[in-house]
Symmetry: C2
Subunit: 479 residues, 2 copies
């Protein structure tokens, strides 16, 4: 028993110290580990398998809408980065530079991409000739570097994995549609695959991407009521196409600048998963994204026929599910149960000699820890049904939390009281002035998350200055 | 007609200037383009789609043998790189260093990985405790940087995409088996997917990987008779596990150092593909790896029903094949035919009003340019059969070339004469002395390619010094 409790003992209390609980789970569930490169983690097989599932799902969605994958250089000459004023101001402080290579000092510093608008823009400018070449809609799966001061595995890392899509279009309308289409796909990935409901909306001027005309965002909520920006889609208008001279001959034979977008999701989604679903026992993975959906644990393994039966079940299930048998003999079944829970495996099957005799086994759900006996002859249908139940139950729990943690505020005092009492989102009217946005942040610690697409009229006046306000904004403290 | 011939006109003559022909094809067939980052190319959608097909095939093969994917940091502290003497000597001259980041000068320089033995070793040393943890068999798909002086798209680029597998094992035997297993998988990828026969063998001491105990290689041959190292698998013994202290408690309870391997293939395989199969018309892709297997070209497109029929065929074929319709109206069918050939699309279907009337269409094979009429009702079976024929015919052509371009030599004069007359591989006995290896290179321009697994006794004496020799080595000029 002492051994069985080791897992939980080593994880910080989720209600008292959520931040430490998070890093404990990342390491104990074997998702990632720290490395000798400060601020950069090693993503281990279990963590990477989650990323592969996200990537495969997303990549298929992208390609169905005509996106094509490419790979462009990691290193960008400093002069390219400087072509768009807002962009360089936003990113320069976080950039890492290569100054020596091949035994020599470089004439021009090369920056490691923090994002690739500048590289894509230079190449698009070289390739684009006529309206017939449009749209060009390319995406790359790669890593980027941003020299963050404070880091946290998956959530904020100096190097992280992501996809960055960059498109150019003939018209403003078409570009805006692509921006919105990608936001819809991101919402689908997060809601359908990761079982986390999102808020969708537009970022304020202050929070938008450096160089963008408009940034759209999908926001998720953590168990402790903080907001996580989980995917963004940017409309650039002609902000980059003009300095980078991305122009084409239009249908009337005249020269025109193209309209541009970019959009990205990253391994931060793994952080969102952990923080939305986890509990004191560890990770809790929605079946659709879980690298292992079913773990079979043989009981009294040394008894004749038990291991064989477990292996037989695995073979029966493996065409339909991602399934494994835990046949280690150096640890007890209790240890294996705990590890299964720590790793968030959706369904656990326990099978021992008596079960085999009775043609039965025990099925345990990770989401609610419910345990029941099932007939071996129905095992496939039972598991299929339970995986669906778990996926939708996990979504519902997050949906309920989202409802419970959205409050309205009409004054700054009400805002402060409510966010302190029940940390989460606050809906409040805003005049559109950045000064108010800054003051709200100072007072409450909350950033504007988005101007939601679904607007409500909570009042007529700005929650901060009291002046007339048209926009409802959703605010929240963030990771 | 003038327009139709533009493609060929713009490509250098393959027999007179193979090197320029190569870069012409890379750019004209839209595989890759140069960028503002010297020595680094942008891999375009068509080139990247080939890489995705290679990657998906390889990744599946790896996983079936128990390999797990991970992602470890791009940046490696300089001190880590220096832990294994031979390794740092081999790679240091080619390394790129980050010296500034986040607006500050770094205390310790960070190198961009040229390969990740050192990073994997540090982490394995942290994670490994007992023999029960072994083997650890991880792989990552990523990019690496090597500051080459002369570059050529895909073949030798400062940044390139690859996979690097790194494994540690309980015994020497198991590690050597993994090294060999990976070489077999590489041979399968190249022969089965890319339709290029390989030579398999061991590298000489001089040509082996910096820090390895032994390097195994798969070598391919280009149309102009040069050798391309196309995949390598290294056995390290304990060369890294000792300095990095990768040790474990063995079955007897004693501390022991693990045995290690690493292995990789890269986007260089795209170079191998182009150089093995291409002809004066451009690229020639084996069906299994071709991003587009079938291109449907409607003839007299403006006539009623033609485009509709082409689209109907596409829908019929798309479940089984990677198929596209070229419905552009600004270029002629002749232009489209040439482009199809330039891009190496295995099968082209031409369909016009008269064909539709007769329930027929024209099928053209890219490999031998054979053209024949087929019945529309049999189109699926016909295409399936032809794709198989093309795949095996392309392999046979390369196999024939390999036979024609392997010669034996008993003296250095014979070696020189033969390689100058008919550039290709030379089989010759070798005493094992590096001085002879160097002298052969000086005299003939040929490097040792491998000590093939299938040895033949061509003579009793070293081709260079005439002393007794046991080993037959295969030599060749390389890209």
């Amino acid at each position: 028993m002492a051994k069985d409790q080791e897992f939980v003992k080593d994880i910080a209390n989720i209600d008292e110290d959520f931040a430490t609980w998070y890093t404990d789970v990342v390491r104990k569930a074997d998702l990632a580990d720290y490395t000798d490169t400060k601020g950069c983690v090693a993503i281990k097989p279990y963590g990477y398998a989650i990323w592969e599932n996200i990537k495969n799902y997303a990549d298929k969605e992208f390609k169905e809408t005509g996106i094509q994958n490419v790979y462009f250089p990691l290193l960008i000459p400093e002069s390219l980065l400087q072509k768009e004023k807002d962009h360089v101001e936003g990113f320069a402080p976080e950039v890492a530079f290569v100054t020596e290579a091949g035994g020599e000092k470089l004439e021009e510093k090369l920056c490691i991409r923090p994002t690739s608008e500048t590289m894509f823009s230079t190449l698009y400018s070289k390739w684009l000739k006529s309206w017939r070449d449009l749209p060009m809609e390319y995406n790359q799966w790669c890593s980027v570097l941003r020299w963050e001061k404070e880091t946290r595995p998956f959530l904020r890392s100096r190097e992280f994995l992501w996809q960055e899509g960059h498109t150019i279009h003939e018209t403003e309308k078409e570009a805006i549609e692509r921006t919105q289409k990608m936001l819809e796909i991101y919402a689908k990935i997060i809601e359908d695959l990761l079982a986390i409901p999102v808020l969708k909306g537009k970022k304020t001027e202050k929070e938008k991407f450096s160089g963008a005309e408009a940034t759209y965002t999908v926001e998720t909520l953590t168990r402790d009521g903080r907001a996580l920006q989980s995917g963004t889609s940017h409309y650039f208008g002609q902000n980059f196409t003009k300095p980078f001279e991305i122009k084409f001959q239009n249908r009337e034979g005249k020269e025109e600048y193209a309209y541009q977008t970019s959009w990205g999701i990253s391994t931060r989604l793994i952080g969102a998963l952990i923080m939305a679903h986890g509990d004191q026992r560890g990770l809790k993975l929605p079946p659709k994204v879980a690298p292992i959906q079913v773990k079979i644990i043989p009981i009294a393994m040394h008894k004749e026929g038990v291991l064989e039966k477990a292996e037989e079940l695995r073979k029966e299930l493996k065409e339909e599910f991602r399934v494994e048998v835990d046949s280690r003999d150096q640890v007890s079944p209790g240890f294996k149960f705990n590890e299964c829970e720590l790793k968030g495996i959706p369904v656990r099957i326990e099978i021992g000699p008596r079960d085999i005799e009775n043609g039965k086994c025990i099925l345990v759900r990770r989401d609610n820890l419910e345990k029941r006996e099932i007939e071996l002859k129905n095992i496939k249908q039972e598991i299929k049904q339970e995986l669906e139940n778990i996926q939708s139950n996990m979504y519902k729990i997050c949906e309920k939390r989202l409802e419970d943690k959205i409050a309205e505020a009409k004054t700054l005092e009400e805002f402060e009281t409510k966010i302190n009492q029940n940390q989460g989102y606050i809906k409040a009217m805003w005049c559109g002035n950045e000064e108010c946005e800054n003051k709200i942040k100072e007072k409450t610690g909350a950033h504007s998350r988005c101007i939601p697409f679904e607007q409500e009229k909570i009042g007529n006046n700005c929650v901060c200055c009291g002046k007339p306000a048209e926009q409802m904004v959703i605010w929240g403290r963030q990771y």
